[in-house]
C-alpha cells in the first residue's frame, strides 16, 4: 500500500514535467514568438524585443530556454502580465483562491446530490422517479454550463430576487463568510450540474450491480434494516468507483468555472482567463494553465490514494 502510494507520488513528477513542457510550448506557438507574446502592445518596438530576447535567453537553444523558464516559474516568477502590467503571480494567486472556493462549492453539490440521486434511482429502478431523474441528468449533461447559469440567474436572481446575480461578496458592508456563501449558491450549482449528472449515473449503475451481490443478500438474511443493507453493505462497495469518477470531474469543474465565473462575475481565475483571451494576454494565460493543471494533478492523486485506502483488493495488488 505504502509502496504503491510512493509509486503514484513518483509518477506525477514526469506528468508535471510534461505539463510544464506543454505550457512552455504554448508561448512559442504565438504568432511572432514568445518575445512578442510577452511584450503585447510594446512588441512594435524592435529594441524592446531585443531586450526581452536577451534578458530571457530567447536566443538560446530551446532546452536552455525551457530550463530558464522552469527555474523562474518554480520560484513563483511567471513574468509580467501584458494587460495589467503587474507580475502574473500577484494576479494569479488571489484569483486561484476564489476559483477554489467556487470549485469546492460545486464539488459539494455534485457529491451530495449526485450520490443521493444515484442511490435512490438505483433503489427505485425503472420507476417514474428513476426515469425523470435520468432524463434530467442527461439534459443537464448536454447543456452548456454558462446557459444553465444564465437560466438560473434569470429565474432566481432577476425574477424571484432570492439570490444575488453577480459578484462574490455584497458591495454593501464588509465581506462576510455568509455573504460569500449566499453569492456561491447559484454559480456553484450551475457549475456542478454536469459533474452531478456523471456521478449520479456512475453511482446508480454501480449500486444496481452491488444491490444484487451475495453480501447484500447475506445482510438481508441476517435481518439487518434496509438502510444498513443499502448504505453500509452496498454503497460501501460503490465508494471506490464513486471517488475515482469524482476526482476526474474536478478537471471539468475547473473548466466549467471558467464560464460560470463570466456569467456570475465571480472574480476568479476563469474571469482572469476570460479577460486574458480578450486582451491576448498570453503570459497570464500560460501561468493559469500551469497552475490549474498542477492543482488538478494533485487532486487526482488524492482521489487515487483515497480509493486505494478504501479498496483493500486494489491495495493488495
Amino acid at each position: 500500500m505504502l509502496l504503491y502510494a510512493g509509486q503514484r507520488l513518483a509518477a506525477i513528477v514526469p506528468t508535471l514535467i510534461g505539463v510544464s513542457i506543454v505550457t512552455f510550448g504554448l508561448l512559442h506557438l504565438v504568432p511572432g514568438g514568445p518575445a512578442v507574446a510577452m511584450l503585447g502592445m510594446a512588441a512594435s518596438d524592435p529594441k524592446a524585443v531585443a531586450a526581452v530576447t536577451r534578458e530571457l535567453g530567447l536566443d538560446r537553444p530551446l532546452p536552455t530556454q525551457y530550463w530558464l523558464w522552469l527555474r523562474r516559474a518554480l520560484g513563483g516568477d511567471f513574468g509580467m502580465s501584458t494587460e495589467f502590467h503587474v507580475p502574473v503571480s500577484s494576479l494569479l494567486f488571489p484569483k486561484l483562491e476564489h476559483t477554489l472556493i467556487l470549485t469546492a462549492g460545486s464539488l459539494v453539490y455534485a457529491i451530495v446530490i449526485g450520490t443521493i440521486l444515484g442511490i435512490t434511482t438505483a433503489l427505485y429502478h425503472r420507476s417514474l422517479f428513476d426515469r425523470l431523474a435520468m432524463l434530467f441528468t442527461l439534459i443537464g449533461a448536454s447543456a452548456p454550463v454558462f446557459w444553465i447559469g444564465l437560466l438560473l440567474s434569470y429565474l432566481f436572481a432577476i425574477k424571484l430576487r432570492l439570490l444575488p446575480a453577480l459578484g462574490m461578496t455584497s458591495v454593501l458592508g464588509p465581506p462576510t463568510v455568509l455573504s460569500v456563501l449566499e453569492h456561491l449558491i447559484l454559480p456553484a450549482f450551475a457549475n456542478a450540474i454536469i459533474a452531478l449528472a456523471v456521478i449520479a449515473r456512475i453511482v446508480r449503475s454501480a449500486m444496481l450491480e452491488a444491490l444484487v451481490q451475495p453480501y447484500v443478500l447475506a445482510a438481508r438474511a441476517r435481518g439487518l434494516p434496509r438502510w444498513r443493507q443499502v448504505v453500509v453493505h452496498a454503497f460501501r462497495n460503490v465508494l471506490p468507483d464513486a471517488i475515482n469518477i469524482t476526482g476526474l470531474q474536478v478537471g471539468f469543474l475547473f473548466g466549467g468555472a471558467l464560464f460560470v465565473e463570466v456569467v456570475f462575475g465571480w472574480p476568479g481565475l476563469g474571469y482572469l482567463i476570460y479577460s486574458s483571451i480578450q486582451a491576448r494576454d498570453y503570459v497570464t494565460m500560460q501561468a493559469a494553465v500551469l497552475i490549474v493543471s498542477g492543482v488538478f494533478v494533485i487532486v487526482n492523486l488524492a482521489a487515487d490514494l483515497a480509493r486505494l485506502a478504501l479498496d483493500p483488493r486494489e491495495a493488495r495488488r
Binding site: 504565438v30 442527461l138 452548456p144 446557459w147 444564465l150 434569470y154 471539468f252 456569467v263 483571451i277
Partner: protein, 296 residues
C-alpha cells in the same frame, strides 16, 4: 422430396451481421428519434436561405428585442433586431462541422496512436501513452482555450484545438480495447495459425476497435456541440456578425432581464442537437455490440 430437406428450407434464413445491427438500432426508439432530429436539423442548415426571409447578419432597427411568437419573428429578435430563427438556422451551418470534423480528425489520429500504444506496445507505444497521459493532466477545456487563444480566433482554430484535446481520449479507448483483445484466445489462435501481426490487426483487432471508436465518437459529437458553443461564448469562435449559437448566448447576456429569450433560444438548440447525438451514440452502442444486443 425428403422430410429433412423440407426442414432445412423451413428454417429462417440467418440474417447478416449488418442487418442484425440495423434492426437493433431501429428497435431503439430514442436513437431513431435522435437520428431524425439530426437529419432534419442538417437539412434545415442546408436549406436555411430558403426557410427564412431574414438575413441573419443584418438587423432591423425598428424591431429590436421583439418577443417570440410575434408576427414575422417566430422566435423573436435580438438586441440588433436580427431574427433569432434565421440566426439559429444559419448557426447550424457552423454547429454541424464543429461537432463532426474534430471528432473525425481525432478519431483517425486516436486510432493510429491508440493502436501503437495498445497493440504494438513496445517502447514507442509506451512513449506514446505516457505523452498522452500528460494531456489528461491538463483540464480539457482549459487546454483547448489556451491553444485557440494562442493560434488566434476563428472556425479552423476552434476545430483544430477541439481535435487536439479529444485525441488522447479516443486513443485511450482504442488502446484499452486493443490491449484487451491482444491476449484474447482468438488472437492466440490466429497467431498459432501463422497469421502475420498485420493480418491479426486487420482481421481480429480492428473489428473490435472500430465500433468502439464509432460509438465513443458519436456520443462525443454531442459534447462537441456544447464545447464549440463555449468557444463562441468566449469570443474565440467564428467572429461577428457570423451567427454562432454560443456567441448568441453571450450576446443576449446584457438584455437577460428584459429579453431572456435572446440567450435562452440558442441554448435550447444546443441541448436538442447534443441530446440527439447522445441518443444516436447510445443506439449505436447496443447495435454494434452483439453481446449487448442479445441481452435485450
Amino acid at each position: 422430396m425428403s422430410a429433412a430437406a423440407e426442414d432445412v428450407r423451413a428454417r429462417p434464413v440467418p440474417r447478416s451481421a449488418r442487418r442484425q445491427a440495423a434492426d437493433a438500432f431501429l428497435r431503439d426508439r430514442m436513437a431513431v428519434a435522435g437520428l431524425i432530429v439530426l437529419v432534419l436539423a442538417h437539412a434545415a442548415a442546408i436549406l436555411a436561405p430558403a426557410l427564412t426571409r431574414w438575413d441573419p447578419t443584418i438587423g432591423d432597427e425598428d424591431g429590436i428585442l421583439v418577443p417570440p411568437f410575434s408576427p414575422g419573428h417566430v422566435l423573436g429578435t435580438d438586441e440588433q433586431g436580427r431574427d433569432i430563427l434565421a440566426r439559429i438556422l444559419f448557426g447550424a451551418r457552423l454547429a454541424f462541422p464543429e461537432a463532426v470534423v474534430p471528432v473525425v480528425a481525432a478519431g483517425a489520429a486516436g486510432l493510429v496512436l491508440g493502436l501503437i500504444g495498445g497493440f504494438f506496445q513496445r517502447v514507442i507505444g509506451e512513449a506514446v501513452m505516457r505523452t498522452l497521459d500528460v494531456l489528461f493532466a491538463i483540464p480539457m477545456v482549459l487546454l483547448a482555450i489556451a491553444i485557440a487563444t494562442t493560434l488566434g480566433s476563428g472556425l479552423p482554430t476552434v476545430i483544430l484545438s477541439m481535435a487536439i484535446v479529444i485525441t488522447p481520449y479516443i486513443a485511450r479507448v482504442v488502446a484499452t480495447t486493443a490491449a484487451q483483445q491482444r491476449s484474447a484466445p482468438f488472437v492466440e489462435a490466429a497467431r498459432c495459425a501463422g497469421f502475420s501481426e498485420w493480418k491479426i490487426l486487420r482481421r481480429e483487432i480492428l473489428p473490435h476497435v472500430i465500433p468502439a471508436v464509432v460509438v465513443y465518437g458519436t456520443t462525443n459529437m454531442g459534447a462537441m456541440v456544447v464545447f464549440a458553443a463555449g468557444f463562441g461564448f468566449l469570443g474565440l469562435g467564428a467572429q461577428p456578425p457570423t451567427p454562432d449559437w454560443g456567441a448568441m448566448i453571450s450576446g443576449g447576456m446584457r438584455s437577460l432581464a428584459s429579453a431572456p429569450w435572446v440567450s435562452t433560444v440558442p441554448g435550447i438548440a444546443i441541448v436538442v442537437i447534443s441530446l440527439a447525438f447522445n441518443y444516436v451514440g447510445d443506439g449505436l452502442r447496443v447495435a454494434l455490440d452483439p453481446r449487448l444486443r442479445t441481452r435485450l
